[in-house]
């Protein structure tokens, strides 16, 4: 019996140790080192840092987020991705996802995005922006289109109905400007950049029928571009001070501090404008889709897995897990609870009762209506940031009066576009 007992004991010990090893393997930490993230400041990411311990428990390692403002983040991530590859996760956006994907600086996300986290739950428009060349590259942190946000009290006092067309907008804005009372008809973006002044100019370009390219031939040096630029410059005469060399921060800041009557801007503004912590115009504003035929500027920012810093599959899985966790339903719910409107991307959250309770029906209706006119206005190509930034400088020169020839500026841009096309 003793040998039998011994054999049974050894067998049991083997089974036990094998089981323990399997459990240990199954629970082996996904991450062996903290995930390094290069991002731009977002309330949602700041909130995420409060839950760092949760990710450490989940993945076995923490994370570190380095923040730079939008233009600096773009420059730094581009330099990092093409050289040393210090970061495991990059914050990318609609303007540079094509460049990052085609340069193989990031890897397709869905290969490493755990299925449990339900990527399909993201807003379809944002999924579309995150897709390039048939593959998904990032998980959205923010996104959407444009809304027209206006001061009901100011328009009523002036006897003006909210403009429904672009012509009405152009006609109404000068009537609403009254510098003596610190009120300006509109706020636009003048600062250079494909994501700054060019972003706000592009809906005008599209509204007048403009196209960037016809095949490989530049087609933007057109009457549409001239008209769009002239309309933009005309409106700029009534744009709030500080916006001539400013961007999102300056134009939304002017509106939220009560100095602007009408603002057509990206959708996160609407959430900010109803939040007493950020807005001095709560209760005085209305929402509508952009005046027709202005299309909304469809955009999306999110997190992508870096290729260079994640040389092996295990690192990619770790980065994928971080992105999935950071954009999970649980974390998005926390952002909703913190009233971070601009940080919400999942349909399950946007259509929830809690969302409607916080933001009201008006905003929900306006968001639904603007969704129908939201479009991708930029040239979806890796060379877009190069071309867009070049136009941004010329446009800033036009806005600030350094140059006055719109056609000459477009000719210069076309010559540059032809160089870009030749290099392909």
């Amino acid at each position: 019996m003793k040998p039998i007992r011994l054999a049974a004991g050894l067998g049991a010990a083997f089974v036990l140790s094998a089981t323990v090893s399997t459990i240990a393997l199954a629970q082996a930490p996904v991450c062996s080192a903290p995930v390094k993230v290069l991002a731009q400041p977002r309330d949602g990411l700041t909130l995420l840092e409060d839950s760092k311990a949760e990710f450490e428990k989940l993945a076995g390692a923490g994370f570190q987020i380095d923040y730079l403002n939008e233009n600096d983040r773009r420059a730094k991530s581009r330099a990092d991705a093409s050289t040393v590859g210090n970061y495991n996760v990059y914050y990318v956006d609609e303007a540079n996802v094509a460049l990052f994907a085609s340069s193989k600086w990031i890897v397709p996300l869905t290969d490493y995005y755990p299925a449990d986290y339900d990527y399909a739950d993201f807003d379809p428009g944002r999924q579309k922006v995150a897709t390039y060349d048939g593959k998904v590259w990032f998980a959205p942190l923010t996104g959407g289109g444009d809304l027209m946000v206006y001061r009901k009290d100011v328009l009523e006092a002036a006897g003006i109905q909210p403009p429904k067309t672009l012509d009405e907008l152009i006609a109404d804005v000068p009537k609403l400007t009254n510098p003596d009372k610190g009120m300006y008809g509109i706020a636009l973006r003048g600062a250079r950049g494909s994501g700054a002044n060019v972003w706000r100019w592009m809906p005008f370009f599209k509204a007048y029928g403009g196209q960037w390219f016809d095949g490989d031939k530049p087609a933007f040096n057109s009457d549409a571009a001239v008209k769009a630029t002239e309309a933009y410059l005309k409106l700029f005469k009534d744009s709030a001070p500080g916006t001539q060399t400013g961007s999102w921060d300056e134009s939304t800041g002017a509106f939220l501090s009560g100095q602007v009557a009408i603002l057509v801007e990206s959708t996160p503004l609407s959430g900010m404008s109803v939040d007493p912590k950020t807005s001095q115009v709560v209760g005085k504003i209305g929402f509508l889709p952009p005046p027709s035929p202005l299309p909304g500027g469809g955009y999306g920012h999110g997190l992508a897995i870096a290729a260079k810093a994640n040389a092996d599959d295990a690192s990619k899985k770790c980065a994928g897990l971080f992105i999935a966790w950071a954009t999970s339903k649980e974390n998005e719910k926390r952002r909703l609870d913190a009233h971070q409107f601009g940080e919400l991307n999942r349909t399950s959250i946007l259509s929830s009762k809690e969302f409607a309770d916080i933001y009201g029906a008006d905003l929900g209706q306006a968001l639904a209506a603007t969704g129908k006119v939201t479009a991708v206005n930029f040239w979806q190509d890796p060379r877009w940031p190069d071309l867009g930034d070049r136009w941004g400088i010329i446009l800033e020169e036009l806005v600030t009066g350094t140059r006055t020839d719109v056609k000459g500026g477009l000719n210069e841009l076309e010559a540059y576009a032809n160089e870009l096309v030749k290099k392909k």
Partner: protein
């Protein structure tokens, strides 16, 4: 005897070797890259030799950047030296020793501020609606708007004023300390000859300080070449290209807009050559 002569070599050679590696390797690498057509978005490249340099001289933004850099250098160096000498002499003449100590402490604070912090502080100070620096204009004109950073005619001077605020005040302290070290006899002799205060400084004290003042000017000239952070934060080279200096444009081409690192390196190489030639000529002229 042989041991004595080899000791300096033992100490000097490794140091010189490290310095050579640290300075020459990046320089040579920049020159090599400038002769290629490297871009960040692709690992492929070929040798284009002087093509980048030829392109630069056909590039209106590059030519504009050269002109802006020259203006920036002249404005900041001249204004800094004028403020430094003016304030230094003023403190020397009218302030008591205790007051001088207080002024010195106050005047050193701006230069201790990190450049980026100073840039942000002044960017807000120049805000057309809320800025403290634009407040007097709004007050005098009854609320008219003045936005110095968005006007091509004023943007460079507005940014330069921050540079002068930091360095002019700091140099004023140095000038004061230099004046205090001068022997009193020549000044007393000039007073006995009924020289006016300005004449004493114009013909006695400042000529006596010619060598240290020239050194200060050279320090400022070198410092002014490195004003990228200040301009980047305050205007990003704008409005348009009104404040785009060579280093700003090189960075834009290399990392912000198109990722053309070879083109940016060509600019850096030209800047290096121009700086070495200019400083050598100036130095020789001053010594002569």
């Amino acid at each position: 005897m042989a041991r004595r002569t080899s000791l300096p070599v033992t100490f000097v050679v490794p140091t010189i070797a490290i310095l050579l590696v640290l300075s020459m390797v990046p320089t040579l690498y920049a020159i090599v890259i400038a002769l290629q057509n490297r871009e960040l978005s692709t690992p492929d490249y070929s040798w284009v030799w002087l093509s980048n340099f030829v392109d630069l001289f056909l590039d209106r933004r590059f030519l504009n950047a050269v002109w802006v850099s020259v203006k920036w250098e002249i404005v900041t160096v001249v204004a800094t030296m004028v403020v430094a000498i003016g304030l230094g002499v003023l403190m020397f003449e009218v302030a008591s020793p205790r007051q001088r100590n207080v002024y010195c402490l106050l005047f050193i604070i701006p230069v201790l501020l990190p450049r980026v912090s100073a840039a942000f502080v002044w960017k807000f100070a120049y805000h057309p609606l809320y800025g403290i620096a634009t407040y007097p204009y709004r007050l005098i004109t009854g609320g008219l708007i003045f936005d110095p950073l968005s006007k091509p005619a004023t943007a460079l001077f507005a940014v330069a004023s921050v540079d002068v605020w930091q360095w002019g005040l700091f140099f004023a302290v140095i000038v004061l300390k230099l004046l205090e070290t001068l022997p009193p006899q020549p000044i007393e002799a000039a007073r006995l000859d009924h020289a006016r205060r300005w004449q004493i400084h114009a013909y006695v004290t400042l000529p006596m300080l010619k060598a240290p003042l020239i050194s200060l000017m050279f320090v400022k000239m070198i410092e002014s070449l490195r004003s990228f952070d200040l301009i980047y934060v305050m205007t990003r080279g704008g409005p348009g290209v009104a404040t785009e200096t060579l280093d700003m444009y090189a960075f834009s081409q290399g990392f912000i807009e198109s990722g053309k690192v070879s083109y940016a390196s060509a600019m850096a190489v030209l800047m290096m050559i121009a700086t070495v030639i200019t400083f050598t000529m100036l130095w020789k002229r001053v010594q002569a």
